[in-house]
């Protein structure tokens, strides 16, 4: 019996430290932000430290490794100390995590927003998450190279003119020393630019035509031909052979940075790398809309939207929720907070936002000011988005290797029937 007691005591001593918790934090509340942008980690750590230094409230920022946000979130949400601030960026995420979202309607931070465009609501109208930055993408142009090839930016007004310029540059590539488009690699490091971003063409135009307010159960695919127009232009007017795109392994950013191509489809987040890593100047850079042969596209603007939306964990302790909301409004109102957010995220949709130095975001605003329509991110409606995109990538790979009508039919199937199948899978 005595032995048993000793044994139990030994075990108790061994596991006691696991349950011991610091008491102080529980009273004032603390913030735990699970961030999903690895490239922003350094700045966010700085932000957290600045807030702690100013207020004494502990802020922990943990960044999920690239591509592992969902797995990390799933694991972290199960813990006693779960994230209090996390990212719910699209309709599918609202479906999955909606129950965990604190209703942000009327909170101080939500009142600072300049627009409702980036906010996500659930079916009952609960404000699940609010945008904390917005981004734009389109076709980045090296205007210096364009001039060398004998063209001006204003020569490109629609798909026909873009096609003419691109095909001419590609034909003279060996003489000019650069090609029209950077490589369009379809490995996971780059395929999202096309299955996701370029895929916004058919989705956006259909969403406008049909007035989407939520994910439609089926897709018509009316504008898939326009998607094909631009895709064909990309892959047939670049330095790499289309049939090598599936395996990929190319570095399009470096190709553009080293001035080997005039056009590069990507977003404003590339600005930092292009200007600091590759030393391109603001005057060399421009971003043009996805010209793809849609009627009236001369009035198109850039694709603006976000998947960066803050949600507050409704299941966290009361004190932690309060601490998190305070931290959020500090970020979007204080000089230090807005400065650091602008530094890493570019543009933030808040009243006191610091002006971004980003050329591409400035151009997005210019297009809007000139009355061009913004191509909003309709792909945020995609059901089971990763599975759907993976299907599109696989079908596009077959098409790239052998550009036949039959193979394009498979891409259409992946788009249209794939959408219906994923909608069904996600909704019953």
């Amino acid at each position: 019996m005595k032995k048993l007691i000793i044994a139990l005591l030994v075990v108790l001593m061994a596991i006691a430290p696991i349950f011991a918790q610091p008491v102080t934090e529980a009273q004032t509340g603390s913030v735990y932000w699970l961030n999903f942008k690895p490239e922003s980690d350094a700045v966010l750590q700085e932000l957290a430290a600045a807030y702690t230094a100013e207020t004494g409230v502990a802020v922990k920022v943990v960044t999920a490794a690239s591509g592992t946000y969902q797995t990390t979130l799933t694991a972290e949400m199960d813990k006693e100390a779960a994230p209090t601030l996390f990212v719910v960026g699209n309709a599918a995420a609202v479906d999955t995590w909606g129950d965990y979202c604190y209703d942000l309607k009327g909170t101080a931070v939500a009142n600072e927003l300049t627009t409702d465009a980036y906010n996500l609501y659930d079916a009952n109208g609960k404000l699940c998450s609010i945008g904390y930055c917005y981004e734009c993408f389109g076709i980045i142009v090296n205007t210096d190279l364009l001039a060398k090839a004998g063209y001006k930016l204003s020569d490109i007004k629609n798909f026909a003119t873009l096609k003419k310029v691109a095909e001419d540059i590609h034909a003279r590539a060996s003489k000019l020393g650069f090609d029209a488009f950077t490589s369009s690699g379809m490995d996971p490091s780059s395929s999202w630019r096309f299955s996701g971003h370029l895929g916004n063409i058919p989705l956006y135009y259909e969403s406008v035509a049909d007035g989407w307010t939520e994910c439609p159960p089926t897709l018509k695919g009316t504008y898939l031909q326009n998607f094909k127009n631009l895709w064909d232009l990309y892959i047939n007017n670049a330095a790499v052979a289309p049939n090598t795109l599936a395996v990929g392994g190319y570095d399009a950013e470096a190709e553009f940075g080293k001035q080997q191509a005039v056009f590069y489809q990507n977003g404003n987040w590339e600005y930092d790398a292009l200007t600091t890593k590759y030393g391109l100047k603001d005057s060399q850079l421009a971003m043009i809309p996805f010209y793809c042969g849609v009627e009236g596209e001369e009035k198109a603007g850039l694709n603006c939207g976000t998947e960066n939306c803050w949600a507050v964990n409704a299941r966290a302790k009361e004190a932690d929720i309060k601490a998190t909301l305070d931290f959020m409004s500090w970020m979007v109102t204080s000089a230090k907070g807005t400065e650091l957010l602008a530094k890493t995220f570019g543009a933030i949709p808040y009243k006191k936002a610091a002006a971004p130095a980003n050329v591409f975001l400035a151009q997005a605003n210019e297009y809007s000011a000139k009355g061009h329509y913004v191509m909003t991110w309709a792909f945020n409606y995609t059901p089971n988005v990763e599975t759907w995109r993976a299907g599109v990538v696989s079908a596009m790979n077959q098409y790239d290797a052998n550009q036949t009508d039959a193979n394009w039919e498979t891409v259409k199937t992946a788009f249209i029937q794939g959408w219906a199948a994923q909608y069904k899978a996600a909704n019953n």
Binding site: M77, D95, W97, N243, T244, V393, S394
Partner: protein, 304 residues
């Protein structure tokens, strides 16, 4: 005589008493770790397969729905047959090659230690890295023929077979070498004196004597084949896909483990329970196959 001595010393109270009294101190931590790290998650996992859940602590019991969805998923059914075929083919090829290499390297040829090391080395490289390396190698070759490993199911299948052979032959070889070296030389001598040919010696003496190694190696390569994940993910990630008439995907080179992973993470929360049900089915399958196989080969072993 010696045998009885050791038995006597083990049963001596001087040894047995401390074992009886303090045994828990040695068994305890391991048992605790086993419970926390294996038993609890295992039973929790089985429970979750009957639930709808997002995080494991937030689950609603829904009964057998997940199982019926899992078994009617065409992607899962495809992954099952594809994995079964893969496991059988890889089992045969790996073991034939490993045994052949082990046999030649125990014939006293020059530099056999060097060869053993070289053959074993691929086993030290992680699966993801191997997948990407081989993807480059295959692509280097296939691009000459205007195609790539992602274009055809057959390429993906044989590519993965080549990859796992390259990785596992060395490991199985080590086990076979140990087995071959334990074959009693007097038996082989006796066979030689009786005029048995080399082939007869191999079939009648060597193979029956290395049956324990064959048991272990076939068991290992079969369960490795079923559990394969990293290499599958890095080499083809399931490409190319087929689309059924309703648009549902069949990832033609996706194996069971990858199918379960993809079901769990890349779809919404409804499918997490389904993925869990798939995982339970997967466990039952691998465990029962392993047991049957272990039982079948054990009977052929020679008792020395």
């Amino acid at each position: 005589m010696k045998h009885r001595d050791s038995a006597a010393s083990l049963s001596s109270t001087l040894i047995r008493r401390p074992i009886r009294h303090w045994g828990w101190l040695f068994v305890g931590p391991m048992l605790l770790a086993f419970c926390v790290g294996f038993l609890y998650p295992f039973f929790r996992g089985i429970y979750l397969s009957f639930c709808r859940f997002r995080t494991t602590s937030d689950a609603v019991f829904i009964g057998l729905g997940n199982y019926s969805r899992a078994l009617t998923d065409p992607g899962f059914v495809h992954a099952f047959w594809y994995t079964a075929l893969f496991a059988v083919v890889s089992l045969v090829i790996i073991n034939l090659l490993a045994f052949a290499v082990a046999y030649f390297l125990t014939q006293g040829i020059k530099g056999s230690n060097l060869f053993r090391t070289v053959f074993f080395m691929p086993n030290l490289i992680g699966g993801i890295v191997l997948g990407y390396i081989w993807s480059m190698i295959f692509d280097g070759i296939l691009s000459k023929y205007n195609t790539s490993i992602l274009m055809k199911t057959e390429y993906g299948f044989w590519g993965l077979i080549i990859l796992v052979c390259w990785q596992q032959v060395g490991y199985m070889m080590i086990i076979y070498i140990a087995g071959l070296q334990a074959v009693p030389t007097d038996m082989i001598e006796a066979a030689n004196i009786d005029g048995a040919s080399r082939w007869q010696t191999l079939i009648r003496i060597t193979i029956p004597n290395v049956m324990p190694s064959i048991t272990i190696c076939t068991f290992l390569s079969l369960s490795n084949g079923f559990k394969l994940f990293d290499q599958n993910l890095a080499l083809t990630a399931g490409q190319p896909y087929l689309f059924a008439a309703d648009g549902s995907q069949i990832r033609t080179t996706e194996m069971l483990a990858l199918n379960i992973y993809n079901t769990f993470y890349s779809q919404n929360s409804v499918s997490r329970g389904v993925a869990q049900a798939k995982a339970v089915i997967f466990f039952v399958l691998v465990a029962s196959l392993g047991l049957i196989q272990l039982f079948a080969t054990r009977r052929k072993e020679v008792q020395q």
